[in-house]
């Protein structure tokens, strides 16, 4: 870049990237706003986006109090899921028959309808944090496990052959080649799973909780306040976006070579 300290071209480039998305979202919101105003539909059926935003600001304290437990459930559940998925992926990589034994169980776990399983988990484990962590782990564990196992298997055969010709043990080859090779797959899985995680946490709260965005939405619905339901939806969407952005930033920091690859290919 010829002018590294000039911000204008950067802002222009950024706008070229996010402009289309802003335009499409803006058009949708505008159409919704116009429809709600012109048709005269009752705000207890379809509130206008402006009303949703206004109510969200009015109720900010309640929304905040209910967002904190959702964030803790999401992050705690996701951390558990990641830890278990990592340990199992390593075991599967070193002992292949384990994969044949375990994968069918995990595939079945993914077919369980959340609507049915969430109230049961709450019934068994109460209204605390435990059932939320379990449900978040249930929806995010398998995608992370598959991503990691596939990532190990994406290791360049030449690199493995080279390392074994150097006399590296299986453990050395795993640490030096297979683990770093799995990073792009790991982050792809992470980006997908983190969005599932928020939905999983809200679903768990919906099935029964003392506090949280899920139970807040349920109460707002029962009080005929769709504007507050949508305000909570807005918060959960922002939360998901923030977590998604965080994974992108972590990936950039963890894989500085990847942007060079992308730059070379473009």
């Amino acid at each position: 870049m010829s002018q590294p300290f000039s911000a204008a071209p950067r802002i222009a480039a950024l706008f070229a990237k996010v402009g289309p998305a802003l335009l499409s979202v803006g058009t949708l919101v505008l159409a919704w706003e116009l429809y709600a105003r012109i048709s005269g539909i009752s705000p207890t059926t379809l509130p206008a986006p402006s009303r949703v935003l206004f109510q969200a600001i009015l109720q900010r304290q309640a929304l905040f109090d209910n967002t904190v437990p959702t964030i803790s459930a999401t992050l705690a559940g996701f951390a558990c899921s990641l830890a278990v998925a990592f340990i199992l992926s390593v075991l599967i990589d070193f002992f292949k028959p384990l994969r044949l034994a375990l994968f069918p169980v995990f595939v079945i776990s993914q077919t369980l309808p959340l609507v049915a399983i969430a109230p049961l988990v709450v019934l068994w484990f109460g209204f605390g944090l435990t059932p939320k962590i379990m449900l978040v782990a249930l929806v995010t564990f398998f995608p992370m496990l598959v991503a990691l196992v596939q990532g190990y298997e994406s290791t360049d055969r030449d690199i493995s052959a080279l390392l074994s010709s150097m006399g590296a043990s299986r453990m050395r080859i795993f640490l030096l080649a297979r683990l770093p090779s799995s990073l792009p797959y790991f982050f792809a899985g992470l980006r997908i799973s983190i969005t599932y995680a928020v939905v999983g946490a809200i679903f768990a709260e919906y099935a029964g909780a003392a506090k949280g965005l899920g139970i807040y939405m349920l109460n707002a619905k029962n009080n005929f306040r769709p504007d507050l339901v949508l305000a909570a939806v807005l918060v959960s969407a922002l939360l998901t976006l923030a977590l998604f952005a965080a994974t992108v930033l972590i990936q950039r920091a963890a894989m500085p070579w990847e942007r060079l690859d992308a730059a070379r290919k473009s």
Partner: protein, 252 residues
């Protein structure tokens, strides 16, 4: 002096498919020998047997007069594609073999750093492989190979993926480097000109199942500068004839 490497009637099959059908060849210390053959003939299988990537074969392999045991690793191997790790900087890639041997990362870096100039990589120590040209990547891969300080180098089509001009440059560069260091080298290639230019002797292999069609000594004086001198071209034409029109009578 005993031979550095000797293969006696080495054969290998995968299920019903015979890949190597009694390969006999040898390499003297300080000698540059090439194995030349068509693609898919099983040339790389020989290397996989030597580096322990494959097990079970017929015939015998001796190294410095002793049967080759799994515990010893006398070879430094350079695979077909450069196999540089995209997540390691160039210096950490070249130091990989030393790290695997148990050296600390810092000590390994200190060991390879002085060689960057000679390999035309000075200033690129802390770049990633993606920032290097094709020729530089091959030089980094060769540096990673020779720095292991093994008794013998196994080079598997090191320049196969390069464009013609870069490849010629790299062949001349390798010739110069070999003149200086006199490594014991076994090179696999399907490029006849490359084999003639670089080697002291060439084993010409048939298609699958691979057997040695001919052993050709290259008496061209060193240092060699011209890849296509009249003498080299004559040998090249002769070998091409053997490869493209193999006569049973020419088998050794």
């Amino acid at each position: 002096m005993s031979r550095r490497l000797e293969l006696r009637q080495v054969s290998k099959s995968f299920g019903d498919i015979d890949v190597l059908a009694g390969i006999t060849l040898h390499v003297e210390p300080g000698e540059f020998v090439s194995i030349l053959g068509p693609s898919g003939a099983g040339k790389s299988t020989i290397f996989r047997l030597l580096t322990g990537g494959l097990e079970g074969h017929g015939g015998g392999v001796d190294f410095d007069g002793q049967p080759l045991a799994d515990a010893r690793r006398p070879f430094a191997f350079m695979p077909q594609h450069d196999a540089l790790m995209p997540w390691r900087t160039v210096i950490d890639n070249t130091a990989l073999g030393l790290e695997v041997q148990g050296m600390s990362r810092k000590a390994a870096r200190d060991e390879v750093a002085p060689l960057f100039g000679e390999f035309g990589l000075a200033g690129f120590e802390h770049k990633y492989p993606a920032q290097l040209s094709g020729g530089m990547r091959q030089r980094a891969a060769l540096l990673r190979t020779v720095v292991q300080d093994r008794a013998m180098l196994l080079l598997d089509e090191p320049f196969g993926a390069l464009d013609a001009l870069t490849r010629t440059g790299m062949q001349r560069w390798l010739q110069t480097m070999w003149d200086r260091h006199r490594w014991t080298v076994l090179l696999i290639t399907h490029d006849v000109r490359e084999a003639v230019f670089l080697s002291d002797r060439i084993y010409v292999l048939s298609g699958r199942p691979a057997r040695v069609l001919r052993e050709v000594a290259i008496p061209l004086p060193r240092p060699r500068k011209d890849l296509a001198s009249p003498e080299a071209t004559a040998i090249e034409a002769d070998i091409l004839h053997t490869l493209l029109d193999p006569q049973p009578a020419q088998r050794t």
